[in-house]
């Protein structure tokens, strides 16, 4: 507010300058680029969690031992990932990356989760009535999963004036559906310090 009258003479020129310097720009950047704008959970965090979980699962001796014990590739179904943080975080952002890694590494089979199973069963039901009998998908041939993937996200926040720290803890685990025994654990902590 100060020096306002003196500003009068340069106001128009300055604002015209702003006018030319503030055009919208859009640039495509690599998805791998780490961008932190607000300090909240973002794509970089999902990627960090996915990479950590993938490396821990693929290198897990206990998981390998379980697969050997089974004598075949275990089938995994994705269950519930609970979010106890204060942010609306879509766990699918890293779960899908984990699924792709499992699929490509060929260490396990993936079977559809509840949401998609229902849609498949509906399609199969309709095939019984409307599809060529030679091509109808048969009932009772679904693969039963051996393991279910669960997870939980929590966060601890500490704030003081314009400073904030948030520690996100993401835990995933695979549980044997038959015995309830936990076969694998993966955990990733991401701590952020945000200053406004």
């Amino acid at each position: 507010m100060r020096k306002m009258i003196s500003m009068a003479r340069i106001l128009t020129a300055l604002l015209l300058l702003f006018c030319f310097s503030c055009q919208r720009s859009v640039t495509r950047i690599s998805p791998e680029t780490q961008t932190d704008l607000s300090g909240r959970w973002n794509d970089s965090d999902s990627r960090i969690v996915a990479e950590k979980m993938i490396s821990e699962l693929l290198g897990s001796p206990k998981f390998k031992a379980y697969a050997e014990e089974q004598g075949k590739k275990p089938a995994i179904v994705v269950g519930l990932v609970r979010n106890k943080t204060s942010e609306h975080i879509d766990a699918n952002n890293y779960i899908k990356k984990l699924e792709v890694a499992i699929y490509n590494s060929d260490i396990a089979e993936l079977v559809e989760s509840e949401e998609f199973r229902d849609k498949l069963r509906l399609e199969r039901t309709q095939q019984q009535d409307f599809a060529d009998p030679a091509t109808v998908s048969q009932w009772g041939k679904e693969i039963g999963a051996n393991l279910m993937l669960f997870g939980e996200m929590t966060s601890e926040t500490d704030t003081n004036n314009n400073k904030r720290t948030v520690n996100y803890i993401t835990t995933l685990f695979l549980t044997d559906i038959e015995t309830n025994k936990r076969i694998w654990y993966g955990q990733q902590e991401i701590k952020k310090f945000v200053k406004n």
Binding site: M4, I5, L15, L16, F18, R24, R40, N83, S86, H88
Partner: protein, 471 residues
Amino acid sequence: MHMKPFMFRWATFTCILFVLNACASYYQTHVDFNSEFEQGDLSRALETLSRFDKEAESKTRFIYFSTSGLLLSVLGKYEESNEYFEKAFLFGEDYRINYVNEAASYLTNPNVTLYRGEDHEHLMVLYFKAINFLKMGKPEDALVECRRLNIRLNQLGDKYISAEKLQRSAFIHTLMGIIYQSVKDYNNAFIAYRNALEVYENDYARMFGLTAPMQLKKDLLESAWRTGFQDEFENFRNKFEMPDYVVGETTADLLFFWHNGLAPVKGEWGINFFIAPGPDNHMIFTNPELGLSFPFKVDDEKERSDLSRLEIFRVAFPKYIERPMYFQSGSLENGSATYTLELAEDVNKVAFYSLNQRMLQEFAKGLLRAALKKTTEQALRKKDDRLGALLGLVNAITEKADTRNWQTLPHSIYYSRLPLTEGKNDVKLSLLSQSGRDSTTYNFTYQVKPGQTLFHTFSSLETIAAPYRYY
């Protein structure tokens, strides 16, 4: 340079003609539409609004889109309504400051700038849009609006540093919870409800004296229970002192939103400021009645001298004018059960609070505008007294506050959740006037399928007074 007498008289006459229109507030320039809307003559209001279609390209296009969207929504034309709301949303997304217009506003008035919309108005666009989708049975589209709301809330939180600024919206968090719950995403519903509770208990209690609705507490408990958060369920049950609360099974739900009254409109008020020289090359702008004092450093001696000669001048500022609600309370009856419609958002208080919080900023902008106008006038007077006088007249005419706002929003939003049974359900809405003497009832019938969540909004456009002639 000297002006011919004829030209001077012509210019003065033109200015006087201009002033008759220029003095009108935004409300007054749309008085036909406003009176029709307030009287509930919505079809005619829509016809009147259609005559303003050029405003879709104007500096008030956000208000035009929002007003059209809301009116069409009240008329049950949800698809068309959402087309306008989408335009209003995209306007907010694409809005960029036009610095040429900003500069011009300091030499005329803020109405030459593009109206960007108040924070709460941008949130309300998405509220109405989401509810429209839900009424059309499109929950996936409503979820998109829900995610947009989340982004908007995050942006709002980042926009202000001061804790006294309104950074969070408890109502919008509640709405998000309701949308998530309607698609059985109980985990996200729980997060939204928990955030809403936190904002009600802190920001809303402190700023508006508004506490968390009982319905929110019940929904929070239900979403915790259905997500499997046993500890949280127990903790909140103890916190709410609801030890006997259990989550029941319902066939279907009705979410009933009551839009009571109309939001405030913006008017104008003026303050006279005195200018006096201060120490260290400062000029002090003061208003002793309001205890306002703004020191400005002016290094140029000639400019200080010019300003000293002004002594006193008037600056126009915006203010909100409340349209008090006609109805004080409402309830719903479904069979033998009665459900109170609880206040979830006081749009009126939100509007007043937001403007009050930035009043110092408004003062500074208004003073800068007035000082720039006056110094330009003084400089011109020295070259040509008549031209200077004419500019003084133009300056006085163009001195005007920004009185634009979205004026068809409700004054307050109330809501309740009712359990429904399969098949036909009769629900009675009872509204009680402020005086307590007038009770109005409306009957609604819903055809319900198991597992459905129905959404209904009801708008009471009545206000205690609709003094549209005086704004």
